[in-house]
């Protein structure tokens, strides 16, 4: 087993062991923190497909995170007030079923990613960063000025949505749900990275012109990656909103895009488990340093600087070496 694979396995086991221990000693707050790590890691893994494998520095992924959150909020709020979403041309009701909400969240954020990607992927470099940022802020201001769903104040959900056979209000059961989803997405992305699609996407990141001479269309590849990435980030958004039983425009702000990117950079850009380690570290710093000082972001900034300057492959790169693991 390569060192990176060992680190990946340890990370996944640690993320499972900590909340199980917390459950055993009855520390529900720690379970909630671990759930937050799993959800942020999921968002990071989603962005990492576009950023790490595709080389697409998207500063608008918070939009997909927020769309996933609002998909949950809107469906659940209509279900709890027994008012339909629409009555024409057909009756459309809200739902408290998590699988349905996840599906809607992924479809809606995937469609938004398709529209954003179709336009922004025609640009590259700093223009791509700016256009995705602009789209993200567009969605953010739309959410602020949407009074039907709380506007700036956001939208509260009284009871967490349900999953067949589980009590989702029990922190450990909700954590397990998020953990399994993260593990499934990690497995799927590991397969995707090794598929001809993943290899071509990686090749397009390395040399755009050269992939065209072997008959590959970089634009189409990147658009598919961007849509999958947006859909997974949307799923994380739906889970995050369910965790807090609250959704607000903050989820769509550019700071959220930046935070998701920070998870990836801390853990290692292009490393499958980079966002998992990054999200874990971020939440730990937020929890422990946040308790010491309200200016904890300063320490995070210093850490980020150190990682960027001295550990280009993030923490995984630092521990496992420069090369990305290959079987």
């Amino acid at each position: 087993m390569q060192r990176e694979q060992l680190i990946n396995a340890t990370t996944l086991l640690a993320l499972l062991a900590v909340p199980l221990w917390a459950w055993y000693v009855d520390e529900p707050f720690t379970i909630t923190l671990a759930t937050k790590v799993a959800i942020f890691a999921l968002a990071g893994v989603g962005l990492n497909l576009a950023l790490g494998l595709g080389g697409l520095v998207s500063f608008g992924h918070a939009a997909f995170f927020g769309i996933g959150g609002y998909a949950m909020g809107i469906l659940a709020s209509h279900a709890q007030t027994y008012t339909p979403l629409a009555s024409w041309p057909f009756l459309l009701e809200g739902t408290k079923s998590m699988p349905v909400i996840w599906l809607v969240a992924m479809v809606m954020s995937g469609l938004a990613a398709l529209a954003v990607g179709a336009l922004s992927l025609r640009t590259t470099g700093v223009y791509f960063i700016m256009i995705t940022l602009a789209f993200g802020q567009m969605f953010f201001y739309f959410a602020i000025s949407w009074p039907a769903y709380g506007g700036e104040d956001g939208l509260s959900i009284y009871v967490r949505n349900g999953f067949p056979g589980l009590n989702t209000l029990d922190p450990i059961q909700f954590f397990m749900l998020c953990y399994v989803l993260l593990a499934v997405v990690l497995f799927f992305f590991a397969r995707l990275a090794k598929s001809p699609f993943g290899m071509a996407l990686n090749a397009a990141r390395q040399n755009d012109e050269r992939v065209q001479t072997v008959g590959i269309t970089p634009y189409r590849l990147r658009l598919v990656a961007f849509v999958i990435s947006g859909a997974v980030t949307g799923l994380a958004g739906a889970l995050f909103a369910d965790l807090n039983r609250f959704v607000s425009p903050t989820m769509l702000s550019w700071q959220t895009s930046g935070e998701i990117m920070v998870f990836i950079i801390l853990g290692g850009v292009g490393r499958l488990y980079g966002p998992v380690i990054g999200a874990g570290l971020f939440i730990m710093l937020e929890h422990f340093l946040g308790g010491l000082s309200e200016f904890w972001h300063v320490y995070l900034g210093v850490l980020l600087l150190l990682v960027v300057l001295f550990a280009r492959g993030g923490l995984i790169g630092l521990l496992a070496g420069k090369e990305v693991a290959h079987d």
């Binding site: 001809p196 090749a203 008959g215 290959h326």
Partner: protein, 229 residues
């Protein structure tokens, strides 16, 4: 019928004209040597064929189809495989991944490429960036073959390689000519090796095609005048 035909091709880099009047014909199964001193327009001609550079004048057709308005990836899908100057494999992919990423349906697959270059099979899980120059060249050829081309373009395929490796590459090109029947456009400075594979030759001088004919008809006067050898 000609598989590839270029007539009166002119091309520019910005305001600077690089090709003035290039003519070139290549039949299916034929090996054509594109020759000329440095800076005469050989690689620019290849860029025009692969649509990495748009020409301004003249006509360009492949298998009877006008390819002048096609983007690079469609030219590759039409059946033109390029082994670029300087190899340029995808450095952060393994040998196997480089091949799989380029694969298109057809006769050529990983097993056939490994048969042609057994060294690639030994290095299949090694990063392309960590290969020797010769192995990278083999990978670049293998990658182009994986697209199942009808025309293979080799731009300076043996430049900067050790003599032993050069022999391996030339042997592979000869094998491709004999067994695959694909057309090959080869750019190289080594007349001796070109003579073993090339059927015809075209010489470029200052962006113009100044000589075309059977390779065997290349006289010392012509090579001395246009190639300086």
């Amino acid at each position: 019928m000609n598989l590839l035909q270029l007539s009166h091709i002119s091309a520019f880099y910005g305001q600077s004209q690089a090709l003035f009047d290039v003519h070139l014909k290549l039949k299916a199964g034929e090996v054509l040597a594109l020759m000329g001193r440095n800076g005469m327009g050989k690689s620019t001609t290849v860029k025009v064929i692969c649509r990495m550079l748009k020409h301004r004048g003249g006509t360009l057709s492949f298998d009877g189809q006008n390819i002048a308005d096609l983007p690079s990836y469609k030219v590759a899908r039409a059946g033109i495989g390029l082994v670029p100057e300087g190899r340029r494999c995808f450095p952060n992919l393994t040998v196997l991944e480089n091949l799989v990423a380029s694969a298109r349906p057809g006769n050529w697959d990983g097993a056939k490429v490994n048969e042609l270059f057994p060294r690639l099979a030994e290095r299949k899980n090694q990063m392309a960036a960590s290969l020797s120059g010769g192995e990278q060249q083999m990978l670049a050829i293998g990658r182009a073959l994986m697209t199942n081309p009808r025309l293979l373009i080799l731009d300076e395929a043996t430049e900067g390689l050790a003599p032993v490796v050069r022999q391996e590459i030339w042997a592979a090109i000869a094998q491709l000519k004999q067994e695959s029947g694909m057309a090959i456009l080869v750019i190289d400075k080594s007349l001796k090796e070109l003579a073993t594979v090339a059927d015809r030759a075209v010489i470029l001088e200052k962006g113009r095609s100044v000589w075309a004919g059977e390779f065997a008809a290349l006289s010392p006067e012509i090579t001395d005048r246009y190639l300086g050898v």
